[in-house]
Symmetry: C2
Subunit: 343 residues, 2 copies
DNA sequence: CTACAAACTGGGAGCGCTTCCAATCATTCC
DNA sequence: GGAATGATTGGAAGCGCTCCCAGTTTGTAG
């Protein structure tokens, strides 16, 4: 325990000196790449401890051409969308997956042009070893980032028209089917849907899942309104639906937020939920439990999305070539749908 | 426009070569540190453009001992707390403030021991130029990070017992006073409060603000329950309050989430809001608009918190020595409190 | 005891950039 | 016209680390 804290942190040379070995040996001992005899290794470890040595990441990065950082880029410009609990959960999942490694997480909000430029910059200057990219709209030029850059890109959710080499996605279509089937089983028949913006793959997939299930049930799938995944949008869409299809008896909203809006609109219109109209959402965000009645919904494993993206990226950096991953969804029945079939 | 994209990005030397100048001049031109004649500067800029040159951050960091990254560390272990929209908004604010600089944002969840260790590591190895630290509990050893490290630390919110050198905080005490005064003015008299965990400065400050206002109004401030800022906690605390102080006619909950819980508990107990019992929250998160009735609350400028922390940190890195900043709050009246005084 | 393979070791050359400094050039002022 | 002044310039020394490679040591078999 030396009293005076050094104003400058010790370098590898100092460690080597103290351990009585050459810098090369010290380096090898620290990175435990072989070819170091046991006693010298021990001496180095001791010196490291005594000196409180921490390798300088910049120097290491310069020498190895790997920086020890991954970036999460979220292509959203609206604070509202990012502020959603969704991304917080993803980030949490990523952090957990990164905890045991010594990678660092860099966050880029790439929605606005400045952010996208920043992301480009990061990629081109190799400030990160890999990228996780989320929330791309159909026309987002960032979708091509993957091809342009030497750095591997893992997508969270698929971009609209292309199938990226690496991605983790939720089984949106299957989940939507689950939701719709649930409505059908509960005895609802005149089922409508509120979709997200169809420029988003998620939105399209969920819409397709709805159509799938309706077709299987032999029901018409024509009661449709589009919104933007937001609560306000959901409320407006619900109002439009009520106007055009006053006979509807259930609605599948492609997000909990929109479902919450729908709930609000239904109450305003004096329709009882779940008695007269059943409502089901998607996501199972905290919101779903704050509505009245609480939302029946489809749970997507958001945190797992983060962890799995990270795992995939790390394994790629590690040399393996994983295949895309689709995470399963699960129905969560709460109060906004009837649970028993009426005969 | 060369056809073949280079497998390796160009270096400063190549730029210099192409521009017909020395590396030093190229460097100076690029960083526009003076002493470069106009023609050479132009030549360098042209070469940079033609080659698509981007400086290597690691090399630069190694040479300058500045890495171009700041970290946001959030000391929370519960996913639930981080998943709150609050942090997402802070992050958004930070990103916006960082957009125009070429700093990068590194995110560390430092609640669990692994995360804290990682933060230490980052600091000690100078992987970041500065730190923003949020959500410290009273006893968090990270509070001393500021003294230990050569890197400047800006606190978001104050730690409990110490006054850090640099911080940005919301005027929690003043905001709580605002909230309580509003209840008093609306004619409520038997006012209770649900505090957050008093090991958090925010919670304590809001509690004090409540006491302030009650004292000024000459009302007793003895109806108190403590919770954990969560909705469930708020509901439980409200239930306890109703049990112990059945005569209460209003409650100030120190967070919107707790207020939402309180609302739920009140409905369960059959008390009408705002008629029989007034409820006011704090934060003005999205939640506040999703409750029924919508929450009257105190708005704190969360995004601004992020921007201002960033601004402060950058100015410190720039050599200036700013003073702490307290952000103002503002009352937002919605449906959970009566608006007119009854006589 | 010699020959040879295997296991270590440390010197040294970078990685790409900044920055000090001595040298060069252009100006300006008597 | 020449010296003094200041603006430019480029050579070179690092920043701290990795890793190749030639040299040394150790061990083993013949």
């Amino acid at each position: 325990m030396d009293a005076a804290p050094p104003d400058r942190s010790p370098t590898l040379d100092e460690v080597a000196l103290r351990a009585g070995v050459s810098r090369s040996v010290a380096s090898r001992a620290i990175n435990n790449s072989g070819n170091v005899s046991a006693p010298k290794r021990a001496a180095v470890q001791r010196a490291v401890r005594e000196l409180g040595y921490v390798p300088n990441p910049s120097a290491r990065a310069l020498a190895t051409n790997r920086v020890g950082a991954v970036v999460l880029a979220v292509a959203t410009d609206v604070p509202g969308i990012f502020a959603d609990a969704f991304f917080a959960q993803v980030i949490y999942g990523i952090s957990v997956a990164l905890e045991r490694t010594d990678f660092t997480l860099t966050l880029v909000l790439a929605g606005r042009p400045e952010g996208a430029a920043k992301l480009q910059q990061i990629v081109r200057s190799r400030r990160a070893d890999g990228i996780m990219l989320m929330n791309l709209h159909g026309d987002d030029p960032l979708a091509r980032l993957a091809e342009q850059s030497a750095v591997p890109v893992v997508f969270g959710g698929r971009p609209l028209r292309t199938e990226p080499r690496w991605y983790v996605d939720t089984d949106n279509r299957g989940g939507a089917r689950l939701a719709t089937e649930h409505l059908v089983e509960a005895g609802y028949r005149r089922i409508a849907t509120i979709t997200g913006p169809l420029s988003l793959d998620v939105a399209e997939a969920r819409y397709r899942g709805f159509q799938d299930a309706m077709a299987v049930a032999g029901l018409p799938a024509g009661r449709v309104e589009h919104a933007d995944f937001s609560e306000a949008g959901g409320a407006a869409a619900m109002a439009r639906l009520l106007e055009e299809h006053p006979d509807l008896d259930a609605v599948f909203a492609a997000s909990d937020n929109m479902a919450a809006g729908a709930l609000r609109a239904l109450r305003a219109a004096g329709r009882a939920v779940p008695g007269e109209v059943g409502v089901i959402g998607f996501d199972d965000l905290p919101t779903a439990q704050h509505t009245d009645p609480q939302l029946t919904t489809v749970r997507q494993p958001v945190e797992a999305l983060g962890t799995e993206m990270t795992r995939m990226l790390l394994s790629i950096l590690d040399g393996s070539r994983p295949t895309p991953l689709i995470l399963p969804t699960r129905l969560v029945v709460r109060g906004s749908t009837r649970t028993l079939v009426r005969h």
